[in-house]
Symmetry: C2
Subunit: 344 residues, 2 copies
Amino acid sequence: MPRPPAPTRRVTIIDVAKHAGVSTTAVSKVLRNAYGASPQMQAKVRAAIDELGYRPSASARGLRGQTFTIGVMLPDLRNPFFADILDGISAQLDGTDYQVLIAASCNSEPGEARVTDAMIDRNMDGLILIAPLTSRQRLERIARTVPTVVVGRHGRSAVHDTVADDDFIGAGLIVAHLAELGHRRIAHIEHHETNPIRLAEMPNAVRADGYRHAMHAHGLGEHIDIASTTYTQQGGYLGAQQLLARPQRPTAIFAGADIVAMGVLDALADAGLSAPADISVAGYDNTTFAAFGPISLTTVDQAGHQIGTNAARLLLDRITDGSRPTTQVKLSPTLAARRTTAPL
Amino acid sequence: MPRPPAPTRRVTIIDVAKHAGVSTTAVSKVLRNAYGASPQMQAKVRAAIDELGYRPSASARGLRGQTFTIGVMLPDLRNPFFADILDGISAQLDGTDYQVLIAASCNSEPGEARVTDAMIDRNMDGLILIAPLTSRQRLERIARTVPTVVVGRHGRSAVHDTVADDDFIGAGLIVAHLAELGHRRIAHIEHHETNPIRLAEMPNAVRADGYRHAMHAHGLGEHIDIASTTYTQQGGYLGAQQLLARPQRPTAIFAGADIVAMGVLDALADAGLSAPADISVAGYDNTTFAAFGPISLTTVDQAGHQIGTNAARLLLDRITDGSRPTTQVKLSPTLAARRTTAPL
DNA sequence: GCGAGAACGGGCAACGTTTTCCAAAATGTT
DNA sequence: AACATTTTGGAAAACGTTGCCCGTTCTCGC
């Protein structure tokens, strides 16, 4: 199927100005509805814009200042929880001139560096970094360069805003739920974190802390039992295998993430066990599939939508006023009790 | 937590030139390793670049030509199938200077128009449009403006390349699988398409066609039974309800998408039935959750990764040579038989 | 009428690259 | 030694906006 596409020059502000019989300055003023344009002129210019189908070049704008672009960095496209956050961001930005562009799957520090650099290179007006692994130092350097909101990481900064769900409370919700059902040997599968600096900031660590604290609070300190793997399906499988091999097998497993719980369920099935008959299983995140009938996973709902709206709102605020003090928003998770947990 | 971020001017090509004692032209040449730069000069310039931490501004570049940005339009972040495609794209683009930026959730024609316009405004070098709803006419207009690859939509164009999975064959795989298991009353739930122009091009329509054709091929023409809803969980629920209310209830339901199958399973459970004991259920897409133990959905695997690599490769080709004839790549899906289908 | 001030419109210089050119120097060829 | 060629490096003009600044022309209060 041959035929080369016909090249066609883009309509510029100059074309519009000529067509409307005014200066480019005038067109620019109308575009940004800046001061100094009479209604008649506005009408003329707008007519010309429509007639010619003119669209301002973001590159040229970027060279002078704004690009009306918000960059969102996502660690993983597969976790539907992030889609909730995105929805919140989009909802908040709807009606503004800003366009959201996403860079995904930068699941390593160098990967994140590449992505954030790329966003800065492209003159984006603001960045929303979701669950970044990047060092605090680099994070602050980024935030000093461009308005930034960090999502899902605990710990405050003088230079960027922060939005996170309270993972400490969330872990407590699960432990309380299971304890109420009569469970005492409640085990946890955590994402192993080696980096000591990130230790206190990353959600996984906070969830583990919350688990420990809640266990103590319910007088179950002696039953604390943590398998340290990763927040992946395989990590859940391996973690569950470890826990099932204990001399005193737990009666409930709190997986640090829904995807981990999937691995746990697989391991149970392979061991000829089932949830909740033999062992109760809980996850964390309330991802879309957790609600599917055959799974029906008890989990913690992280108000992803609200996280998104808050992040976007804070970012817009900071774009308009870069010098206002930074804010830390901490949202409260809720329990989503379903059918993988049952009374002992 | 007060303290405004310290503003800091960006390092430009001029700074690098001064620091290296050469002209900006020279730096530019080194950057693009263009002709006319001696080894010594290259060394000097590279040293200066490293020392100053210089990064070229994409805006300024865009004003003159390339931005080294590839835009990917995704209809829906929640469908993990798209993540597979993205992985393929990233894999192919890895090692090049191109950065992928995603715009998501433009689940309507006006939404898609906004997104594609935004990408063109930003001078992106190429676009990958995944399962677009946009009219053929607009699609071609876009492709005439910027190198474009359309993914997941059947029908060829003289102006853009196309990559798609063969949905006709895929639907046939499911029907063959079910027929082999002894099923005869195999029903289908389709996504209702009203727009006649899109009718032949959209995957959902092709899947329904493939279903019809395969039914005839297996001598089951009289049992063709289609519930027309949407490709959503709720669509699956409603579709299953319709099918269950038939005087002659089907023994197998082929849902046009995995998410639809989830709704079907819910409807079965609510009716006191289960799969595959009472009714076999199959989906389409092999999304991540289809493989989860408790679900274990029989489905069709669309080589998402390959779709992505092919799309990216074609796009790079077209960016370097816009006049080469267009290509249509059609990949073959495979059956992923799991536990929601069983012999009659 | 008259001056002050507001309203309106436009000229022009950035912004940071790339891309022609073009000159000078080095090298090769008779 | 004179000339042709290649190599090397730079000057300068775009690219499409915006924002500062300046000159008009209104408007209005006296």
